[in-house]
């Protein structure tokens, strides 16, 4: 039997080699057709600062809660680590500006941006200062400080001029509700109002609270805002471990043996990170989540833009974003049924 195996071994090796060659060619073919099929972004209808305009009529639905994972390169493309971090940060901020523009056009409610190494979170002040040049920020960036805040993250709100919107509860027919709000001239009297300075400081406990408009203006267009979260690895599994620690300490101090029903869910949801409708993974040769908060991606659609890990991370372009929205716009959610 050993002789037959010894004879077959070269044949098996050949088959393995052929399989990998065929697979490599197939992947190369996909990359080439990907490049050929994607038209160059139409730069005539946009300015460099605002980026190309989205053709919203193209999609059945667009995400209200958007998330992007920026996958870093495996190799360092610069001699000094500080210089490479600065270069990475510059690239991330550029992409973030484009994202904010598009989120505004799509009327998104929240935007979560994740990078493993926490470059955005660490440099949050610099990031928001740069963004403040083109987008009005409603509050100074708020890093995680209180016990229930999402660890390793910074959140801030960007005012976007558009019709008043209800926050939370995906799937609502927001246009008609917003329209109703505006037509009846409710203004801010029916709305749970809070002074602007406090808006950024506290998270509302229930996700479906109506949000105050920061400044009274004509009833047809009132400003509302987009919540932007800069996330890092600490916001994922380590944050859940941190919550488990807190629960454990709470148990010890209360002299109970077991946690009450729903205690875990309550504490996880208190960190208020939105569940993304669409998550774009930018970079990496294969689709991976790289430590993005696990709890929130339960029903999220994933779109992956591949890029070899030895190349610098790919920029977020209009073509990539449009393809992601194409994927999301045609997806059907069944929710178990």
């Amino acid at each position: 039997m050993g002789l037959v195996d010894a004879f077959l071994l070269p044949l098996q090796l050949l088959v393995l080699l052929l399989l990998h060659v065929a697979f490599a060619l197939y992947r190369l073919g996909r990359v080439v057709s990907h490049l050929v099929a994607s038209p160059a972004p139409d730069s005539s209808s946009s300015s460099a600062a605002s980026g190309p305009l989205l053709d919203s009529a193209r999609w059945d639905k667009t995400p209200q809660h958007l998330a992007v994972i920026f996958v870093p390169s495996k190799l360092s493309w610069s001699f000094s680590r500080r210089r490479s971090e600065r270069a990475e940060l510059a690239k991330l901020v550029e992409d973030l500006q484009l994202l904010l523009r598009w989120a505004e056009q799509l009327n998104c409610v929240s935007l979560s941006v994740y990078d493993e190494h926490g470059i955005l979170d660490r440099n949050a002040e610099a990031v928001t200062t740069t963004l403040a040049a083109s987008f009005p920020l409603l509050s100074p960036p708020k890093p995680s400080s209180t016990t229930h805040d999402l660890s390793g993250s910074t959140t801030f709100r960007v005012a976007l001029p558009r019709l008043a919107r209800l926050k939370g509860g995906g799937g609502d027919d927001l246009d008609s509700i917003a329209g109703r709000e505006v037509d009846s001239g409710c203004g801010s009297s029916d709305v749970a109002s809070a002074p602007v300075s406090e808006l950024g400081g506290t998270f509302s406990a229930s996700a479906s609270t109506l949000v105050a408009t920061p400044s009274p203006s004509s009833s047809s267009t009132t400003a509302s805002f987009l919540t932007v979260s800069l996330l890092s690895r600490l916001s994922g599994r380590p944050h859940l471990a941190h919550l488990a620690q807190q629960l454990s300490q709470r148990l010890q101090s209360s002299n109970l043996k077991k946690l009450p029903e729903g205690a875990v869910e309550e504490v996880v949801e208190a960190s208020n990170l939105a569940e993304p409708d669409l998550l774009i993974v930018l970079g990496g040769p294969y689709l991976r989540l790289h430590g993005f908060p696990p709890w929130q991606v339960r029903l999220t659609e994933f779109y992956h833009h591949p890029s070899p890990s030895w190349l610098p991370p790919p920029p977020l372009t209009y073509t990539v974003f449009r393809r992601a929205l194409d994927l999301y716009g045609h997806a059907e959610k069944r929710l178990g049924r």
Partner: protein, 294 residues
């Protein structure tokens, strides 16, 4: 298509009642149908032997989606789709176990699926009553490969006789140690994570070790803790979501593959790209560390 499938695993075993339960074979693919069907077993064995020469993942997960769409396309009732789905599970398991991939996790039934049409839920429970024990019998698939079955999830939500079948199936394979089949039914990942966090918090409170709780502690309290980290997750029917499956386990390095065919139509050609990608990455990594990069 179904006649093609049945020709691949010939009905020879049906004539002799004492014959051992026949092995289930993963079909090659419809576009390779020009290869005469007599050669399929040889080709399949050659393929398996060839792949075994390279690195293989230790833990693979499947979301078996598309049974109902498959049935609708064929004009059959949904129950038939699920039955075909179970046969497909046997075929895929057989292929993976022959490749020496010891840990496989499958999403059989979600807690949310209880909201489905009661007749469909009853048909699925019927299948669970009979089929689970069937694959655990002496000489059957799991026994042949020395694989243990574990039913993960909120078993207390299942009818009592189904719970009894689950317990029986687990007991029958409890002594197998070469691998584990994690059969998730009824399962949701958020429930698993919440339970793991609860167990972690309660244990830490009892032993006063709250400060040493890390995400590793929580990982050790998950239902799948007996299996190594998840390498690959494959979902069929072209949907690009995890739908509350293995959210914690698939969070880090797991490669997610969303493939177009419906689950009962899955074939060798569909599982090859994930396996070849895995091998390619392991080799590239070895090469890079040998050359001194990354």
């Amino acid at each position: 298509m179904s006649s093609y499938l049945s020709s691949l695993w010939s009905g020879a075993g049906k004539s002799a009642p004492e014959a051992p339960p026949q092995d289930a074979h993963l079909p090659l693919s419809s576009f390779l149908s020009w290869i005469p069907s007599g050669l399929h077993p040889t080709l399949r064995t050659l393929l398996i032997r060839a792949l075994r020469l390279g690195p293989r993942p230790q833990h693979v997960a499947f979301i078996m989606d598309g049974n109902r769409r498959y049935a609708r396309k064929k004009g059959e009732p949904v129950r038939v789709g699920h039955e075909e789905g179970f046969e497909a599970l046997k075929r895929v398991l057989s292929f993976f176990l022959k490749l020496d991939i010891p840990h496989v996790t499958v999403y059989a039934f979600s807690i949310e699926n209880f909201n489905r049409d009661p007749k469909e839920v009853e048909a699925l429970m019927d299948m669970a009553r009979v089929r689970l024990v069937e694959i655990c019998e002496k000489g059957a698939l799991l026994d042949r490969h020395g694989v243990q079955i574990r039913i993960l999830g909120r078993r207390d939500l299942l009818p009592p006789d189904v719970q009894a079948s689950c317990a029986r199936a687990e007991a029958m394979t409890a002594n197998n140690s070469r691998g584990i089949l994690n059969f998730c039914c009824p399962y949701t990942s958020q429930e698993e994570i919440a339970t793991a966090m609860k167990r972690t918090a309660e244990a830490a409170a009892e032993t006063d070790t709250a400060s040493s709780v890390t995400d590793e502690t929580i990982s050790a309290n998950l239902y799948t803790s007996a299996s190594p980290p998840l390498d690959i997750l494959i979902r069929t029917s072209g949907v690009n979501r995890l739908s509350d499956f293995l959210l914690w386990q698939a969070n880090e390095d797991t490669v997610l593959h969303f493939i177009p065919p419906n689950w009962p139509d899955i074939g060798v050609v569909d599982v090859l790209p994930p396996l070849l990608s895995y091998q390619g990455e392991v080799w590239a990594h070895k090469l890079a560390s040998w050359v001194g990069l990354a």
